[in-house]
Symmetry: C4
């Protein structure tokens, strides 16, 4: 097995793991998608006392099979990428690692409950696989509209928080502890529950004045909700123009989002798969 | 009665049952509309213990009259259509069958509670009759805007579900079983209730940290709700251009949605009612 | 006092009562506005047991003063209009009558509780007076956008009701009576509470399957809420073009909404105030 | 120290306190931002019984340090502005004073609980400092869109209140006191809770008729919420055109919002910092 064969083989593997343009690449992504969803379903079922009592061993075995697959995949990703450190410290590299290690750690550390959340982070990997679907264009457009709207929405949410703090303080003074408004932070929590129109009803005003102020807050929240919508609508309209559908990933650092006519990675300068262009 | 008369008679019946351009067709649709609504009201009233105890026989008789009418109508639809199998296996063909058989089945199978839901599916038939109203243009435009928005809204709802699973897992760890967050699926359910701003209050966070995280989830949900709105608004604007108001249905396969100047069915190629054109 | 003086005097009175272009007309509208709000506040306060016990006589006297003023105003409206019957049977004519008679009726009929609602209908009169404000243009534009959106919103709400009935039937079968889903109408009520994201929590699903279906309904409701918003946004954009600011009312039948250059009432053909044109 | 030096020094101080174009001005604003947030956090923590019992002295000392800083800042603002009275009676001048005095007052007046709310008003000062961030353009655009939408939103909210009063009165008659609808104001409160889709569940209809009317109100609220969104979207689109990013404040009266090429204050005519132009 000379270097050329090895390189070609590594190249092939890169294409399967990182891209979705070939039948094998698509098949790999679908298998991965199913395993990710299964592993999250297992985590969820394990937390249900009744189901865990009955199928504990089965879930455990399933967990191990998936973890081993994820381990192999993680290693394969490192091998096939030309600049492994770039991949390892990228967003998806960290998510991939976090998806794999919790089970290993749980053998060392007992009662490490918080690994649960880490395991559910596996779901974030789905966003990477989404490139196989026809929805990539939509997702890109959505993400772009959200990025464009971000500063405005932050200013808006910031205003909402300030309103919640001031209104929460007023309600704390008006209603007092008997109505459940036991402290200002608690009052602010109630105010956010009301402004966002969630309305649990765990705390609710009892005094007439409190109910009047609450009504004003609600109507305000009702009028305010229009603002982010207006923003996103305007930005979404702008973002709908040009979106790229290319699923190519850099063989050097594994990053995606290259232009259709790109020949070199925009991040690490590695040449993008030339075969694909001739194919 | 020669073949020509039979054909003409069948043709006439087809026009009454499937279309709404003639006075008789309109009258038929209105009778059908009233019967559908009545039959659903009967199903609903039957489920109220007090009313059922008092008027059981009356409701039963009403049910039977409507079912017999539906049976006759279903047979008539099969007879007057040139390609009955096309109709029988179409969406509305199946709905029509499902609207008719539950009562017959309930005589054979006792305690078949689930036929109830099937009976309430009758309501879907209303959408077919809607062509008699002046709202058809609106409905078409709405449906088109929704179809155009579907991929984007799916990506969006998918993101919401992922957020709900991750946030639900975190809340399960933070709040624990004392606050009602008894398992991850239950926590995810709570998270969806909160993100969508429904907020039943059957489960609500008690610890300060849980309330803080819940506040973040709520404000996030408040900001996120803007996204589908922006999408639909943009798509609705695009879909508002050209919509057709024709109520003609193919005598061959019963399909609707033909262009105003169409002479042949776009699906089965059958010639559309020529009389209508000369009339 | 000859006929000419009487006619002029009647004309003057018409201008004061029906229009807001003159200082006296404006003053009259403001007095009326205050009295309408006061009368509704009185009705509300009367229903609070504590306040009624304390200030019953005071509220009663206030009620009588307002009623007498309304009576005089109602008679003046009939006198100054050229075609009284047109006014009496118009929308605002009926509202004006309903605003006046409840107190008189309450003397004859004792315990006539339902006159309360009638009295609160007085608030609808505010919409007539709104012409004095600078908001008339806005209100007109809003009303027009709503009228344009009406057929679409009706189709939409109709779809929501059908979804609620089908989903309500399913939940009735899934959850059963122990969870509070005691009948299909009750289940449909719960489903509307959920779809509209109100979420009282008086009924909420308990079984895992019920909670799963509820989650689907909520996410659906969350996606669906975007539709009317998109519609209204599109229609509002169209309705924003040309709006008229004329406050003139027909001296014949009292109807408003005339074009700026209108010389005759579009409803009864009466000539509109010629003085105003020369003034 | 001659007058020229004093003037130059005062000028420098003005630039630091009122503007954010120089490094020192930016640093000052960041320190102020941190102190404002800290002071509000202190107020909130003080209201939590457990935390107050433990860290009362610490919170008290922190409060005093911040108050002394605010006092010095307030005096500095008065000194460096050429027309102090303009500043003192401006919106931010009053907020600055209110941010400073509560602690001094609390020494004189004991049990003056309501100073709490005044202290939380400090948060409003954040909006002034926001000019240091890159979000100023967004905030300006948002504020402009909201100002443009205000009359329409007021008309809309006004309509909502009228609907709430009429529907509330009807529900009071239908449900009565047993269901918690104890008075009309209470019923109106419930109606606002429902229309705005908050839905606490502290009061909810029990009778079938009440639940039916409630369903109508909810669906109405669901359809109505689209209106303000449509308005804001339209206005936001218009307001997105031209926004200025200048952080310069007038040395005469402290007002901001000057055009980029402005040489004189648009309010008091004072010459704007000429150095800045040459720098």
């Amino acid at each position: 097995m000379n270097t050329s064969t090895l390189r070609k083989w590594r190249h092939k593997l890169h294409e399967i793991i990182y891209e979705a343009d070939t039948p094998l690449g698509k098949a790999f992504d679908i298998v991965l998608l199913v395993l990710i969803i299964l592993s999250v379903v297992f985590v969820m079922l394990e937390s249900v006392p009744k189901i865990d009592a009955k199928y504990h061993d089965l879930l455990n075995i399933g967990e191990w099979i998936i973890t081993i697959f994820f381990t192999i995949e993680y290693i394969a990703r490192i091998i096939t990428v030309k600049r492994p450190t770039n991949y390892i410290f990228s967003f998806y590299g960290i998510i991939d690692l976090l998806s794999t290690i919790p089970l290993y750690l749980s053998m060392i550390l007992t009662g490490s409950n918080y690994l649960l959340t880490v395991r559910s982070l596996r779901l974030l990997r789905i966003f990477r696989i989404l490139k196989i679907t026809r929805y990539i264009g939509e997702a890109t457009r959505l993400r772009r509209a959200m990025l464009l709207s971000r500063p405005k929405i932050l200013v808006f949410l910031f205003t909402v928080v300030i309103i919640a703090i001031i209104a929460g303080t007023i309600m704390y003074l008006v209603e007092g502890e008997e109505s459940g408004f036991t402290s200002i932070p608690h009052s602010v929590y109630w105010c956010i529950v009301t402004l966002t129109t969630v309305g649990y009803g765990d705390i609710s005003p009892i005094t007439p004045l409190g109910q009047f102020i609450a009504s004003v807050i609600m109507i305000m929240g009702y009028g305010i909700i229009a603002v982010p919508t207006g923003i996103v609508t305007a930005e979404y309209g702008r973002a709908s123009q040009d979106v790229q559908h290319n699923t190519q990933a850099c063989p050097g650092c594994g990053i995606g989002g290259h232009k259709d006519n790109a020949r070199f990675c925009f991040k690490c300068g590695e040449e993008l798969n030339p075969e694909e262009l001739t194919m």
